[in-house]
Amino acid sequence: MEEDIKVIVFKLGEEEYGIEVDKVQTIERMMPVTRVPKTYTFVKGVVNLRGIVIPIIDLRGRFALPEVEYTENTRIIIVVVNDMEVGFIVDSANDVIDLNIGQIESPPEVVGGIKAKYLQGVAKISDERLLIMLDLVEVLNKNEIIQLESIEG
């Protein structure tokens, strides 16, 4: 018997992504972000989340997707991975679904331009609906970022 997990669903462009709910602390509306100079380009800055300073990553920037204007639907998903608290800016987040682990297939080589290493897998929910499960540890992997940066110069 395979386990069911709860997944927070969010959108970047037309794609739907999922993060396991136990990694998510809260989902916030867009709030004022203080820019931090001299850091990774996709780090938008830091926000004050009820007294705690949390760095905010633009997930579009992290995946090298084109940036868009923030809208009413823009959300910040605060996640905790390996004791790091980080917020992700996403286009929208409005669904929680139950997923059977068996539904998750290993990631195809390229999905929507995102490197496969950030992906934990792809879950087919219905014929039309594919959910891309993110591997947060990889997304937040700093060693890899540093390598990436130095390659891109």
Binding site: T34, V36, P37, K38, V47, V53, D83, E85
Partner: protein, 687 residues
């Protein structure tokens, strides 16, 4: 009884006692004939023993007991302190420390201390042989009297009243021979004999335990009778397989003191006595034992009532965090009130501000701990180092009462240990060299702490050989840290700073003391991470001074808030020299770097807008520029900003684990409007 809840208290207090034992021993070493110090040591050891026994750490208790035996001889002037006795006692302290450490780490506090115990016993025995019978029995008796059984209130009052009514109250210790086959039977016989002519009020072990044979050789008990103590003793001794019997007659005072002392050492009575049983026949206790008993405990029970409480540091952290929230709200309220222009509101907010600043002071003070808590381990360390290096060193500590934030205190210990080791090992010369250089043979290491503005300075200064610029540079060239061309322009201080470079060591050979793979670079990294710096001043042949500058606290700092375009930043007030307004034509360019004249010298002008890529401000577009002159040590630089917002108390917040150590920022703070502002680290701008 659930011991876990007392465990942390036990650990804290044991450490306190060990510390004071160490200190007093050092003091005693300096003046070995001062018996008042021995008294203090004895008391401390005694309390420690009692606590350990209560908590069931028997190895700890019995080792302390052996130390006590030695100290007891000393304080009764039966034994003069000698070097090897000091060494043995210090070794015992080390063993005790490692046992307590083991307990702290969740261990059982067990350790093989037989070697130390043997040498302690040898010290005691050696003295026994050379003193006369009376004195031996006296010291034996007083040591015995310390191992007591605990009386409850009822038993105590029974004994107390019996004395008042003219009965004899005896404290009896019976030791059955080790090779005895039927201990329980012997014990029963002794009890039977006693019951016939009096009443046993309390015995240790209890009657049930004795019946089941669950005891070793010793039984101690309180007994009410009309019999003559000496006669009674003989009668018990006449029973077969008795090793020795001690009978002490109590009076009301000695009973009181003994029962007070006994609190906590009940459990040690058996174990510790077993170790101290001497195979040779014990001399008979003489009547003057009786008068000795009340005298000894009388010195033990005092201890000034403490007006402090121990608080879990985590609770203080929570308090601090909550308080910082309050501080942010205060600023916010002040802002709202000034916008609302409501007099009543403004007044209330002003009052609240005053109260909260007082509160802030108190909260900050709660976290302040005297550096003494770090310094106190150094005298012992220097003593041992000096001994092992065969040097003569005097450690002079001043300003030990200077207070620092607890978080800083916790971190600063290791760097200081390293600097002191360095001073003792590399700084102070061996005696022969010192004499040859015309210096007194005893080297002096000064350890100083003092306040200065918003900082605390800790200095380690010695009168040793000093640092030779050429030696440092030679080593630096070899390691490729600097080139000869670079070196030519370096000041002495810059050269000395090279010592902090990773992998740098000028020690010719690695000694036991230093050169353990940890370099001064680690020291510097630690101090820098605490927001402090180290400077070195050294005169070849005269000595060296390492000066460590530390912030008073890590949590709340006074800062200047500034605006650069639409962005706000905070600059710690402590590193600001002054603020000024500059006409653009006062800026000069030297080698492509912008410089300004400040008090007769030229200092670099740093453009924050360019450094931080600030989109909506560029000082070169303006006629005049606001500048902030900052300082790092002796060096100055000016930061160009857009606008001053004002001075404010800010709460330091970490940028979180995800962001790397970003050049130029030491953290963030939350402003009154809820926005985050980054805190500049001025040190990063001055290279």
């Amino acid at each position: 009884m659930d011991m876990n809840q007392y465990l942390s208290m036990f650990i804290d207090e044991s450490n306190d006692h060990l510390q004071s034992l160490n200190e007093k021993m050092l003091e005693l070493e300096a003046s070995p004939s001062d018996l008042s110090i021995v008294q203090v040591i004895f008391r401390s050891a005694h309390t420690l023993k009692g606590m350990a026994a209560t908590m069931g750490y028997e190895d700890l208790a019995s080792l302390t007991h052996q130390m006590e035996n030695v100290l007891d001889l000393v304080r009764n002037e039966k034994l003069a302190m000698q070097d090897f006795i000091f060494d043995t006692l210090f070794k015992s302290l080390d063993a005790l420390e490692s046992m307590v450490q083991d307990i702290t780490d969740g261990g059982s506090g067990k350790a093989d201390v037989s070697a130390i115990v043997t040498s302690l016993q040898a010290i005691v025995r050696g003295e026994n042989l050379s003193t006369n019978v009376t004195s031996t029995s006296e010291s034996e008796a007083s040591a015995t009297a310390n191992n007591d059984i605990q009386l409850d209130e009822f038993q105590y009052s029974v004994l107390d009243q019996s004395i008042a009514e003219g009965h004899r109250v005896l404290y009896i210790e019976i030791f059955i021979r080790e090779d005895c086959q039927l201990k329980a039977v012997r014990a029963y016989m002794a009890f039977d004999l006693l019951e016939r002519s009096g009443e046993i009020i309390k015995s240790n072990p209890s009657v049930q335990d004795i019946e089941q044979g669950e005891f070793e050789q010793g039984i101690s008990l309180y007994y009410i009778t009309q019999e003559d103590p000496e006669e009674l003793r003989q009668r018990i001794l006449n029973l077969s397989e008795m090793d020795k019997v001690k009978v002490i007659e109590m009076d009301q005072e000695s009973l009181k003191l003994m029962s007070e002392m006994a609190a906590g050492i009940a459990e040690v009575a058996v174990t510790s006595e077993v170790v101290s049983v001497d195979p040779k026949p014990m001399p008979t206790p003489t009547p003057d034992v009786k008068s000795a008993a009340p005298k000894e405990p009388g010195k033990v029970n005092v201890g000034t009532p403490s007006r402090t409480i121990r608080v879990d540091i985590e609770r203080l952290d929570v308090l601090m965090n909550l308080f910082s929230e309050l501080l942010i709200d205060r600023v916010r309220l002040e802002q709202l009130a000034s916008e609302a222009r409501n007099t009543a509101l403004t007044e209330t907010v002003e009052h609240m501000s005053r109260v909260s600043s007082d509160l802030q002071n108190i909260v900050l003070k709660l976290r302040m701990v005297p550096v003494d808590t770090v310094f106190n381990r150094f005298p012992r360390m220097v003593r041992d180092l000096a001994k092992s290096l065969d040097k003569k060193i005097d450690l002079v500590i001043t300003g030990a009462d200077t207070e620092l934030d607890r978080t800083v205190i916790d971190e600063i210990g290791d760097p200081l240990v390293h600097l002191i080791r360095n001073a003792v090992d590399h700084g102070i010369e061996p005696v022969a060299d010192r004499l040859a250089a015309g210096k007194p043979e005893v080297g002096v290491v000064n350890l100083r702490a003092f306040h200065s503005g918003n900082h605390v300075f800790i200095e380690i200064e010695e009168d040793g050989r000093g640092i030779y610029r050429e030696n440092v540079l030679k080593s630096a060239f070899k390691k490729g840290v600097v080139t000869e061309a670079q070196a030519a322009n370096m000041s002495d201080e810059e050269v000395f700073q090279l010592l902090f470079a990773p992998g740098f060591s000028t020690a010719e050979k690695i000694s036991d003391v230093s050169g353990r793979g940890v370099g001064l670079d680690v020291v510097k990294a630690k101090i820098t991470s605490l927001g402090g710096h180290v400077t070195i001043i050294s005169t070849p042949g005269k000595g060296t001074n390492f000066s460590v500058q530390l912030p008073l606290t890590l949590s709340i700092i006074a800062a200047m808030l500034v605006k650069i375009g639409s962005e706000k930043y905070a600059i710690p007030l402590a590193s600001i020299v002054e603020t000024a307004i500059l006409q653009n034509n006062q800026v000069r360019t030297v080698h492509g770097n912008k410089m300004i004249e400040f008090r007769g010298s030229h200092i670099p002008l740093i453009s924050l807008s360019r450094l931080f890529d600030i989109p909506d401000f560029d000082e070169s577009q303006e006629q005049e520029t606001e500048i902030i002159v900052i300082r790092k040590g002796e060096r100055l630089a000016a930061l160009a900003i857009d606008e001053f917002i004002g001075q404010s108390e800010i709460v330091l917040k970490s940028l979180g684990a995800y962001l790397p150590q970003i050049q130029g920022f030491s953290g963030a703070t939350i402003l009154g409007d809820g926005q985050v502002a980054l805190i500049l680290d001025p040190n990063a701008f001055i290279k």
